[in-house]
């Protein structure tokens, strides 16, 4: 009788299968005792865009009520008006002026005191009062920038301002920040880190805002009204509960026109308003 399958091959097969079974058993024990059955995932957050609108409820300047006593008329001189920013095209003229330490943005046709903005140029604005024209030159020392458009076909040019990046000007209850400043820091996180530092405030396992650990003196961030020890709780109404949320706000800052920060200073909660020019 011809032997097809030798007993020693069967012996080896048993050894091989036994070895494989042993290895599988060892791995099974390791898997049950030491290895987790499921991984760790970052929970998905429902994305919601911060809802923040600045609404001007009184667009039209209503006349003062007759009950009030008439204020004495003080004539404004053109010298009292300082031009710190100008945007001029054939169709549009928008200027930023400083009048009595308060900044104001005017469009063509709008007035500041008795002076009406009627035109402009690459570094000047033209005001009219009583039929007489006054030319106000851009104040180089306080200038936040000028943008003009030439004739058709030419692209707008931004003349170099004497200021390094832009200015932060006090407005009426808010601070006016130049766009170039915002754009600069939105692209230079490291430079921002040299001027301001913040750490998350932990509340259990979650974050309850970001505490400012340092602000470089005389830096642009010091001019924002923030102080060391302040806790930034929310931005544009959105609570900052995670690093992801804070970074999302940071990434949107270069397209924002308004920013409102809710901060806690000591036991007091306050709101800091910013407008980007």
């Amino acid at each position: 009788m011809k032997i097809v399958f030798k007993p020693q091959y069967f012996h080896w097969l048993l050894i091989v299968l036994g070895t494989l079974l042993g290895i599988k058993t060892v791995w099974f024990i390791v898997q049950v005792i030491w290895l987790p059955a499921a991984g760790v995932n970052q929970p998905e957050k429902v994305k919601s865009d911060p809802l923040y609108y600045r609404v001007k409820l009184t667009p039209n300047k209503a006349p003062a009520p007759a009950v009030k006593k008439p204020k004495p008329v003080v004539s404004t001189k053109i010298k009292d008006i300082q031009l710190i920013g100008v945007y001029h095209t054939e169709a549009v003229t928008v200027v930023t002026i400083l009048h009595k330490n308060q900044s104001q943005v005017l469009r063509r046709g709008e007035k500041v005191k008795e002076f009406t903005l009627t035109g402009g140029g690459h570094n000047y604005a033209i005001f009219t009062k009583g039929g007489k024209e006054y030319k106000v030159e851009l104040d180089e020392k306080k200038a936040i920038g000028a943008i003009t458009s030439g004739s058709r076909g030419k692209s707008a040019t931004v003349p170099v301002s004497k200021e390094k990046k832009g200015a932060i000007v006090d407005g009426d209850g808010y601070k006016l920040i130049d766009r170039s400043l915002v754009n600069h820091y939105s692209k230079n996180l490291q430079e921002m880190g040299k001027n301001i530092g913040a750490v998350p405030v932990k509340k259990g396992n979650s974050i309850d805002g970001f505490r400012i650990t340092y602000i470089r003196k005389k830096s642009d961030f010091a001019k924002l009204g923030l102080k060391r020890g302040d806790i930034i709780k929310a931005a544009n109404g959105q609570e900052l509960k995670s690093l992801d949320e804070a970074m999302a706000i940071y990434k949107q800052v270069d397209v924002m026109e308004n920013l409102s920060l809710t901060i806690q200073r000591g036991n007091e909660e306050m709101e800091l308003e910013y407008e980007v020019n």
Partner: protein, 167 residues
Amino acid sequence: MQMVKKTLLIFLVVWLGVVWFTPHRELYYKVETELEKQGVRINEATIEESIFGLEIHGAEIYFKDARIATVEEIDIRTLLFYQSLTLVGLETDSLIGINVDKASVVHSLLSPLSVTLDGNGSMGVVTGAVDLSEQKVRLDFIEAKDISKIRSQLKKDAQGWYYENSF
């Protein structure tokens, strides 16, 4: 000769058994658990297990709850004496600003105390090594391209830009 054959056969069977039955997915989960202790989390769209490793698709890497990178594909291969990890399509957050087309990390028993790194992407071509005995990592940017965002972390010598750190 017969003894040698038998020994080789046993070695092959044991090697094949160990590699084949390795619970790759669960080992990956263990790595995720350890990374979570450092604040790193990975979300993956799919995990495909094979005999010699894992393929992870659509991974999102988070560090302290902030998403820092996405990876199109992570390929992990282990042959006991040779391990490799290949990343394809790594895109970091705009703040980090580095995109890696392909990167590979290789460890071999031939040099057990060294891990080699290779990659190419927006930063150029990078090669390097991790010395496990001296606990040092060095990356050489052979053809440095867009390294503006990471330049502050780099040093320069006669050969060009490089990154060196101890851990």
